[in-house]
């Protein structure tokens, strides 16, 4: 991702939106939208259990990437997909935590509704939502984003052993659900 100077962002003006679009093209967001967006959004949707929450987190991450590209002189984001995923995860965690706290103060029973996705009624989706946060993150990053154990460990700040352990536990929980489906 290349950086534009602040001066450049103020030129070419027939309106803010036009300048903004030039920047958008410049930081390769179009490339991200066409090649990575769906996969990243899908992963964050699985992680949060909510499509709106996932969109909110991914769009916030993209806005931050864009802002960063305007702020930093020589720094660039090598892998925009991983960067956006990392920031979106942080945003989603933070907002989920905030929502959970606010919701708990109002009505404990409202939590599932607050973050529910209409289409998330399948047993496997529910099983993923029921996983502890760390197991859910590990299994989605490994199987959906196709990250290696070492890459997941690096992104989440865990040891490879910790990732393997979480993968084992998550796999065991989800295997039970899939096995039941196969029997039915």
């Amino acid at each position: 991702m290349r950086r534009r100077s602040r001066a450049q962002t103020k030129t070419h003006g027939s309106g803010v939106l036009q300048d903004v679009r030039l920047d958008l093209a410049n930081i390769q967001l179009r490339g991200f939208f066409s090649s990575d967006y769906q996969r990243v959004l899908g992963a964050v949707t699985l992680l949060t259990g909510s499509r709106p929450a996932a969109e909110d987190a991914v769009h916030e991450a993209l806005a931050r990437a864009w802002e960063r590209s305007l702020k930093t002189e020589h720094d660039s984001i090598e892998h925009l997909d991983r960067w956006v995923l990392t920031v979106a995860l942080n945003v989603a965690r933070s907002r989920w935590r905030k929502l959970r706290r606010e919701t708990l103060q109002r009505d404990v029973a409202a939590i599932p509704e607050a973050y529910a996705n209409d289409s998330m009624s399948m047993d496997l989706r529910q099983a993923i939502r029921d996983l502890p946060d760390r197991q859910r993150e590990v299994i989605v990053l490994h199987y959906v984003i196709d990250m290696s154990v070492e890459e997941v460990a690096d992104l989440l700040g865990l040891s490879p052993g910790g990732v393997k352990h979480a993968l084992f536990r998550a796999r065991h929980s989800l295997a039970n659900v899939i096995t039941k489906e196969e029997v039915v």
């Binding site: 939208f33 967006y37 899908g42 806005a63 702020k71 942080n90 706290r101 989605v140 989800l174 295997a175």
Partner: protein, 266 residues
């Protein structure tokens, strides 16, 4: 029945993750809105601080010398983006400053340094950190800085950074995002105020309650990094606070003007 293979699990999870998406143009519109919204909020925060400095310089902000209780003197004069309703009503009542000058920080008669940092985690879902100085700060005003690298403040400033890139003095850390749920809240103390050769690092922490006794579900800030003087400021970066949203952070001088209270309320 045998357990599903990795391949089965991968296929099922990827199928679940296949979500329909809008057109590229529609996505661009959404990100444009988000980006311009972030810029608007930062500009608003900056102009709010600047306007308050002007008001203070014109002597419009009221001094309340007769009431010197910490609660009455706690509020910062230059304001910030934090939402008042999250904080105690007593702290909203009065704005007072020790100095009504808007001039930049100058060499003070009293040099200060940080003696200890008191940390209270789990306060209303957030945390309180108090920087205890060995003397009174020369100017009690505290200013929110939208950009940690471009500070315009008459005294102490604070900023927030998200985990995608955290500037700590001359160093920029873009790899701190791993596992971090938030970036940092940064406290910037004018280096002109700082006692020459006073240590910036190795400031003792005082946890209340002790960090080891905190329940698992209570947030606690991570490491606090001190550095500088650099570009006119000594910087303390509170990493991984309970929030790095400027609306969730309030910073004010309290006590006998020798304590800087950082309240973070997600």
């Amino acid at each position: 029945m045998s357990s599903p293979t990795d391949e089965t699990l991968r296929e099922r999870l990827r199928a679940l993750a296949e979500v329909p998406v809008a057109s590229i143009e529609q996505l661009e519109e959404k990100v444009v809105e988000r980006f311009t919204g972030r810029r608007r909020r930062r500009r608003l925060a900056a102009s709010t601080s600047a306007a308050a400095v002007v008001l203070a310089g014109a002597g419009i902000i009221t001094l309340v010398p007769t009431d010197t209780s910490p609660e009455r003197r706690a509020e910062n004069a230059t304001g910030g983006p934090a939402d008042d309703t999250k904080f105690e009503s007593a702290e909203r009542s009065v704005t007072s400053t020790r100095s009504s000058s808007s001039s930049p920080p100058s060499v003070s008669a009293t040099s200060i340094s940080v003696q200890r940092i008191e940390i209270r985690a789990g306060v209303d879902g957030g945390e309180d950190l108090t920087f205890v100085f060995d003397g009174a700060v020369p100017d009690e005003r505290v200013t929110f800085a939208p950009d940690v690298s471009e500070i315009e403040a008459p005294g102490i400033a604070y900023a927030v950074q998200d985990p995608s890139g955290i500037s700590v003095c001359a160093n920029s850390h873009s790899d701190l995002g791993a596992g971090m749920q938030s970036g940092s809240v940064d406290i910037l103390i004018p280096s002109d105020w700082w006692t020459p050769d006073a240590p910036v690092h190795d400031v003792p922490y005082a946890w209340d309650p002790p960090v080891d006794s905190l329940p698992d579900d209570v947030d606690s800030p991570g490491k606090i990094i001190g550095c500088g003087p650099y570009n006119g400021y000594v910087q303390y970066s509170i990493l991984s606070p309970s929030s790095d949203d400027p609306e969730d952070v309030r910073v004010s001088v309290t006590g006998e003007a020798n304590r800087l209270l950082v309240r973070i309320r997600p």
